[in-house]
């Protein structure tokens, strides 16, 4: 029982990280209908920016942790958002309105480019970071197994919840959210009623990148090691999460992220850790066979 609860906590933490990345995929897919393959690498870059930020601040002698974390978080959100904007500007905007596969190939190219760019700029070796946030609560202690809830896990889950709430409000209540939903439904009509479609799409990328940067910082703090290749696996997991939840649906992305996190954690805990990716993908296939639009996705209406 204790073991189960511990895995549940770990799974929810991992799921939060996946969910935050998945939002970027699902939003971009919703608005321009493309898989933004470079999104995982944006996440990777954000983890590197966070790492560099932490090292610079610690190097400068600033060690009061809340300040450091907030500064790094904000810095990394801005810089990552800039990366997201630039990627959209270079690789996707010129391809707006061209056929379906063109932006996908461009995105795969961008993903390769970013990976290798960071590899050259930062080196190929893994970057270990000693634990920055340590400590936690002991929830249960049965003698031979203790259930730990670390402060970091609390921060991750709470921050994710806050961001999700804020983000849902942004989409449902603000002018930007309305513009975005309008573009999602029909870009030509949105342009006709005076919405700046290019700007809205850019902002979608910026928001997606900013959320991914939060995930990047948390990933760095939680696992303590990053390298230039983390974006690939985290990216396809998050995309799987977005598809599982129903691509284009924001609550779906969150739910999918949680599910993928839980499946992976429980599979590693009770079965074999080597096949955890197989488990995640197999469940995706099973869900898609019975619900072809994902768990919370809207069924696509076919028009002739």
């Amino acid at each position: 029982m204790e073991y189960f609860i511990q895995q549940l906590i770990n799974g929810v933490t991992l799921g939060s990280i996946y969910g935050l990345i998945a939002i970027g995929y699902t939003m971009v897919y919703g608005i321009i209908g493309m898989i933004n393959f470079a999104h995982g690498d944006i996440f990777m870059i954000s983890a590197f920016i966070a790492l560099i930020g932490l090292l610079v601040l610690f190097g400068a002698g600033i060690t009061w942790l809340p300040l450091v974390l907030i500064v790094v978080l904000i810095l990394s959100m801005f810089l990552t958002a800039a990366w997201g904007w630039v990627v959209e500007r270079i690789a996707y905007r010129p391809l707006r309105g061209s056929f379906r596969l063109a932006p996908l190939i461009s995105a795969i190219g961008m993903s390769l480019f970013l990976q290798n760019f960071v590899q050259i700029a930062q080196g190929a070796r893994i970057k270990p970071l000693p634990p920055v946030v340590s400590g936690g609560f002991i929830l249960m202690d049965s003698g031979d197994f203790t259930v730990n809830l670390s402060y970091l896990q609390i921060v991750i889950v709470v921050l994710t919840l806050v961001l999700m709430t804020g983000f849902s409000l942004l989409i449902s209540k603000t002018a930007l959210g309305r513009q975005q939903r309008a573009c999602e439904q029909d870009r030509t009509m949105a342009a006709l009623v005076g919405i700046n479609v290019d700007r809205t799409i850019s902002l979608t990328f910026v928001i997606g990148a900013a959320l991914a940067s939060v995930a990047g910082l948390m990933f760095l703090l939680y696992y303590g090691v990053i390298d230039f290749f983390i974006g690939f696996l985290a990216g396809i997991k998050a995309f799987t999460a977005a598809v599982l939840g129903g691509i284009g649906s924001l609550p779906g992305a969150m739910l999918g992220g949680l599910l993928i996190g839980l499946i992976e954690t429980f599979w590693s805990a009770y079965f074999t850790i080597e096949y955890k990716d197989v488990a995640a993908f197999s469940i995706l296939v099973l869900v898609l066979i019975f619900r072809p639009t994902g768990l919370l996705g809207q069924p696509e209406v076919e028009k002739v």
Binding site: V86, F99, V285
Partner: protein, 424 residues
């Protein structure tokens, strides 16, 4: 520069300065502050000179581009004028290029510059051409987005390697079997997932590719895990092996002096034959009802269904035939390398093959050839700069797409395109 109006200069300059500033913002952390793995933990060693170089390069590049775009705009609107006659003459030219290309491929080994290195690159390029043609059936003709094509390549390679190692069967028996295995796995995968549309299919195939790789990596007893399989037998020429020995070898039978090039040239002709077979079968299939059905399905699935075409079966045939060619290419890869490991079958490979198909122009057989030569041969030039190779590769993919979104040789290029905002 006389075409340049004086009032145009400030916006151009402003744009370039902004681009430079953005580059500065992006480059400062990632390039300017590299983390160095030192014994006492990670250290940061600033290197501002590289950042300054990058920013100035981007600024100047943007400036030049801006001037160029400006001149294009003011000089003439020649795009539509160019389109029709230019394309027609290109079509005329293509008729001659195909036989010349095949002829060139046939006599390549006899050329004086055909060194070992050139032949190796040629074999690599033709392998990718074959894979591209195989995937072209799935993506270009049937319009199914497959991001896990490398799985079939892996299945073909491992089928041959395992059959040859466990049963000691020859390459010529294993080759068709590898194709059959790949086709079966294609059908097994395709049957449940081909009902999914577009991008759902993409992610499931991507997942399938990863699953195959993870299984190969972890099923240690059977596949050798990360160590892979080594000592895969080389193919023989009608039972004559390519070895340095006096009895029953290729060189002794034909009374030639032994040369390691014999095997390379044999492999070259082998892959050339396999690739041409792929092309021939594809071209033939396109004329059959099933080929027509693929292309119809790509254009409009609903219309197809109302005309009585079974979409699932039609897609399955495309998937299985595409997989077969992937498997054949895989078993060639295994016999050429003599060693395979899961390392060779990562997602990047799938992405490269898909890029070849799309960059060449979907559905265009010649486009695949052109894209393979440009991408594989082109990045081979960067071989010495190992780590910059994939960087250039990624940049090339983005660049070609932005420059020609429909691929280098679009099969269905409309003669005049009406520019609409936002329509897809």
């Amino acid at each position: 520069m006389s075409v340049l109006n004086s009032e145009k200069l400030p916006p151009i300059l402003k744009d370039s300065v902004i681009t430079g500033l953005i580059t500065l913002v992006l480059a400062v952390p990632i390039v300017g502050l590299p983390t160095i793995n030192a014994t006492e933990g990670l250290q940061i060693e600033p290197r501002w000179s590289v950042v300054i170089w990058m920013v100035s390069a981007v600024f100047l590049g943007r400036l030049v581009l801006n001037f160029w775009w400006h001149r294009e705009q003011t000089s003439s609107s020649s795009t539509i004028l160019l389109n029709t006659p230019f394309l027609q003459s290109l079509q005329q030219l293509l008729k001659f290029i195909i036989p010349i290309g095949v002829l060139f491929a046939l006599i390549l080994p006899t050329m004086p510059f055909a060194s070992r290195y050139v032949m190796d690159v040629a074999i690599l390029v033709i392998t990718y051409i074959m894979l591209g043609w195989g995937l072209n059936i799935v993506v270009g003709l049937a319009g199914l987005l497959d991001l896990g094509y490398v799985a079939f390549y892996a299945i073909g390679a491992y089928s041959y390697a395992l059959l040859a190692n466990y049963f000691d069967w020859s390459f010529w028996i294993c080759l068709p079997l590898a194709g059959v295995f790949a086709a079966i796995s294609g059908i097994l995968l395709g049957f449940p997932v081909l009902r999914l549309r577009g991008d759902y299919l993409a992610i499931v195939t991507l997942g399938f590719g990863e699953i195959i790789r993870v299984i190969l990596l972890n099923w240690y007893e059977f596949t050798g895990g990360p160590d892979g399989i080594s000592g895969i037998p080389r193919p023989s020429f009608f039972g004559l092996e390519f070895k340095r020995s006096s009895e029953g070898t290729f060189s002794s039978f034909f009374g030639l002096d032994y040369s390691s090039m014999h095997r390379i040239i044999f492999l070259y002709y082998l892959i050339l034959a396999l690739a041409l077979l792929t092309n021939f079968i594809t071209l033939r299939l396109r004329k059959l009802p099933v080929g027509r059905a693929w292309e119809a399905l790509r254009e409009d699935e609903i219309a197809c269904r109302s005309l009585g075409i079974n979409p699932t079966n039609t897609k399955l045939t495309a998937f299985a035939i595409g997989a077969t060619f992937g498997g054949l290419a895989g078993s060639f890869f295994a016999t050429r390398q003599g060693f395979i490991s899961p390392e060779s079958f990562t997602f990047i490979e799938s992405a490269v093959i898909l890029a070849i198909v799309v960059l060449g122009g979907m559905g265009s057989q010649i486009g695949v050839v052109l894209a393979s030569v440009v991408l594989i041969g082109g990045t081979e030039l960067f071989r010495e700069l190992e780590e910059y190779r994939m960087l250039a590769f990624g940049a090339l993919m983005v660049g070609i797409m932005v420059w020609k979104p429909r691929g280098l040789l679009a099969h269905r290029e409309p003669t005049i395109r009406i520019k609409t905002e936002g329509s897809s």
